[in-house]
């Protein structure tokens, strides 16, 4: 117990100071500004984007202070965050997940593979980029995108 408190005192605040809010990309989907519940789907990613997303929600970049949360079910979500190229096995589950998110909803494609198939190109097992399977509202380029980019894109939806 005392160890924790000493640690907290020694380390201090690690969170990076926030930049100014980016311009709004889309209207807040729920009609409530400043809050976004995200369901994340890995459609065939190499896990690079996942590492960066976990970084974005970690203590240093702390996306939650801008009102963004990752949730466990599409039924709880306002937005769908898709990483990776869409593989054959994940194409239908991706459509099902989008279907399960209550409207109005936002689809965010994260990483170059999700935007334009990236290095996977026309490989066997690839159906296409996310935009070829479901409509995409926000794009986050990069291979992988940095946590700063991800946080910035999410802030453009929450408006904070």
């Amino acid at each position: 117990m005392r160890g924790w408190i000493a640690k907290i005192a020694a380390v201090g605040r690690v969170t990076e100071p926030a930049d100014d809010a980016p311009p709004a990309a889309v209207g807040a989907p729920t009609g409530v500004a400043g809050s976004l519940q995200i369901r994340h789907v890995d459609a065939g990613s190499c896990n690079g984007c996942e590492v960066e997303i976990s970084g974005a929600f970690g203590p240093v970049y702390d996306a939650e202070r801008f009102g963004v949360r990752l949730v466990a079910s599409p039924r709880h979500a306002d937005a769908l965050l898709v990483t990776g190229v869409v593989t054959r096995n994940m194409a239908q589950p991706l459509r099902n997940t989008l279907e399960a998110i209550p409207a109005p909803r936002v689809v965010i494609a994260c990483g170059d593979c999700a935007l334009n198939r990236g290095v996977f190109g026309d490989a066997y097992g690839v159906v296409g980029a996310v935009g070829e399977v479901i409509p995409v509202d926000i794009e986050i380029p990069g291979c992988p995108p940095t946590p700063t980019q991800i946080v910035s894109a999410l802030r453009s939806v929450t408006g904070r």
């Binding site: 789907v41 039924r75 991706l94 099902n96 997940t97 279907e99």
Partner: protein, 658 residues
């Protein structure tokens, strides 16, 4: 010869016709007997005591009958169970093709059960008791073509006859010490004999009521007996075990000393907790209901024990409440357990299944049966609006109000027992949620459950009557106030009962505390209506709802195999109570031929036996088998040897008698 050949093709329709007629006749006869029983019982409870002596019926001793409030209460209760069971049996016997023998014994069984509380002498009581035991045995063995039924019947026969022997010895000691055959003529019994009678009759009546450790016949006999018989046995016959304890131990020998109360408390609490634990992990619907009977009889024994202990230590008000709780629990249990077994029988008749792991989805196929079982499950879970609620509330109140007491025994026993009752009720809710949720809701887990069809009208009619009784008991238990007062006055532990406060608002006699089950029901109904209305009003501006498939974690559709099963629902409980239940689980993983790391199939097997039965009964059965094998050696089949035995026997008799 020609005649025989001609007659053969006609034989089947004639048999079927006869069976249909037999079903109607047996059902109506049972119901008529039930109506008569209710009438006679009410007369006994509300009218003056009457007695009849029929000398010619049985040589030497005759048959002595009497009608008093206590007996009348149990006659009316048994009759009230027999009426719906008779109606139900008409449809059930047709669907399940019950034979002529069980159909003709069914009314006899009902009559024998109503004869037991009417007996006025030891000999008549024993006669009626044995008649009831034999009739129930024939009914349990109704479908004796199946080996499981034969096994259960043998088990039941041995246990019920051993119980009878204990009762026989106990009542003979009572009769000899009291110097009379008639209950009314018994004089004061010396202390030693009194103790012996208590121990013997508690063992005998306890085995009939299903109290631990003599409960083992219930979970064996009930799943194998036809459902109307299960309903009669579980809602009426086990009550007579309680009747025996009240009549012989608490009324004729009563008021009992403290240790009688403590004994009943301990046995009752252990039975209740163990019964509900086994019920919570049972996957067979009828086995679950049978263990729930053990639980409820345990609670009733707790109430009787509390009444005895509190009366012996001077807390008469709390004792009265405990006794009233026992009687209300009896009535409530009879109503919801009768309904529960009848609904389980209707599921069995529709699907051929009682295994909860294979049922499910019956709410769409059998809506009426589902609602009726829901009423029974609500009653069994002891929640408000359920038939068992008021009884359990009274029991808890009597235990709470006894607590600040100078006697150490009371001060120690009541909080402990209160904890046991609370644990029992909590686990009971989980059990009934499992039985109803897994068995009737969600999607069917087998083709048989998917093809189920609703029970015929006579079976539904038979189930509606106990359901109405459940609702009345839950909302307006004050209808029982007058009969309860008469019955309580007859029991020494609660002789000075003042139940005048038992109206719409139920005030505890002599204690601070009151409850209004009717008002609770009304408020709940109003609250539900208000919430429904408010949500409809609030949703008037929202966009119209959209129907989408259920979320299946990305897969296209849910399958029945994704659902909870009865086994998985009870798994946490099974894990927590591992030491008591001693489950025998086994996971078998079959790898693929190509690689040890790839799995072809995983098989999970779980068997939860009865730990008490394994620990107590198996050694006894082994010893008996050993003795029987030894004796068999003496029976070689040689006539010469038997003649020698005969000669030896005569010689011994001559020597002894000389």
């Amino acid at each position: 010869m020609t005649l025989t050949l001609d007659a053969t093709p006609d034989a089947d329709p004639v048999m079927a016709h006869h069976n249909a007629f037999g079903a109607v006749a047996a059902g109506i006869l049972t119901s008529v007997l039930g109506v008569a029983g209710v009438g006679v019982g009410l007369a006994g409870m509300l009218g003056p005591p009457r007695s009849v002596q029929i000398g010619w019926l049985v040589p030497l001793i005759g048959v002595a009958l009497q009608l008093d409030p206590l007996g009348g209460f149990f006659i009316a209760l048994t009759g009230a169970v027999a009426v719906p069971v008779g109606v139900y049996a008409i449809g059930y016997a047709r669907r399940e093709h019950l034979g002529a023998v069980p159909l003709s014994v069914l009314p006899l069984f009902a009559a024998a059960m109503m004869l037991v509380p009417a007996a006025a002498s030891v000999s008549t009581f024993l006669l009626a008791w044995e008649l009831m035991a034999a009739a129930s045995l024939i009914l349990v063995a109704a479908q004796h073509a199946r080996p499981a039924v034969r096994q259960a019947a043998v088990f039941y026969a041995v246990m019920t006859q051993l119980g009878f022997v204990a009762i026989l010895l106990g009542l003979m000691v009572l009769s000899a010490a009291g110097g009379a055959d008639r209950f009314a003529d018994l004089s004061a019994v010396p202390a030693g004999a009194r103790t012996a009678v208590f121990v013997l009759t508690l063992a005998g009546f306890g085995s009939k009521a299903g109290l631990l450790p003599l409960h083992a016949w219930l979970p064996r006999a009930h799943p194998e007996a036809p459902s109307p018989v299960s309903a009669l046995m579980s809602a009426a016959m086990v009550n007579l075990g309680i009747y025996g304890i009240i009549r012989i131990d608490l009324q004729l020998l009563g008021p009992g000393p403290r240790w009688w109360g403590v004994t009943l408390l301990v046995i009752g609490a252990v039975s209740a907790v163990y019964g509900v634990l086994q019920a919570s992990v049972a996957t067979d619907l009828k086995r679950l209901l049978a263990y729930s009977t053990v639980e409820n009889m345990g609670l009733i024994a707790v109430a009787l024990g509390a009444a005895t202990l509190l009366a012996a230590t001077g807390a008469t008000s709390a004792a009265t409440v405990a006794m009233a709780a026992a009687l209300l629990l009896l009535v409530g249990h009879a109503a919801f357990k009768c309904l529960g077994f009848l609904a389980a029988g209707s599921v069995l008749a529709a699907t051929g299944l009682c295994d909860l792991d294979r049922l499910g989805g019956l709410a769409r196929r059998m809506p009426a049966t589902t609602i009726l079982f829901g009423v029974a499950a609500l009653g069994a879970s002891g929640l408000p609006l359920g038939a068992g609620f008021v009884g359990e509330w009274l029991l808890v109140q009597s235990l709470i109000h006894a607590a600040p007491h100078p006697s150490t025994v009371v001060a120690l026993a009541t909080p402990l027992v209160l904890g046991a009752v609370a644990l029992t009720t909590g686990l009971g809710v989980a059990t009934m949620v499992k039985a109803f949720g897994i068995g009737f809701l969600a999607r069917p887990r087998s083709d048989a459950a998917a093809d189920a069809r609703e029970a015929p009208a006579s079976m539904l009619t038979g189930m509606v009557a106990p359901a109405v009784a459940c609702v009345v008991l839950a909302a307006a238990p004050c209808v029982l106030a007058t009969p309860l007062r008469r019955v309580l006055a007859a029991v020494p532990a609660a002789a000075h009962a003042d139940l005048s406060g038992m109206g719409t608002v139920l005030h505890l006699p002599g204690l601070a505390g009151s409850i209004a089950p009717g008002l609770i029901a009304v408020f709940l109904v109003i609250a539900v209506l208000v919430v429904l209305g408010a949500s409809r009003w609030g949703s008037r501006r929202r966009p119209p709802p959209v129907a989408l498939p259920l979320w299946a974690c990305g897969a296209d559709d849910l399958t029945a195999r994704m659902q909870y099963t009865a086994t998985s629902f009870a798994e946490p409980l099974q894990r927590v109570f591992d030491d008591v239940l001693r489950p025998d689980t086994d996971i078998e993983v079959t790898p693929l031929e190509e690689s040890h790391y790839l799995v072809a199939a995983v098989a999970y097997r779980a068997r939860i036996g009865d730990a008490v039965q394994d620990l107590l009964y198996t050694p006894v059965i082994r010893a008996v088998t050993l003795c029987a094998n030894g004796i068999r050696r003496a029976h070689t089949g040689s006539v010469h040897l038997y003649l020698a035995y005969g000669a030896l026997g005569v010689l011994i008799v001559l020597l002894v008698a000389r």
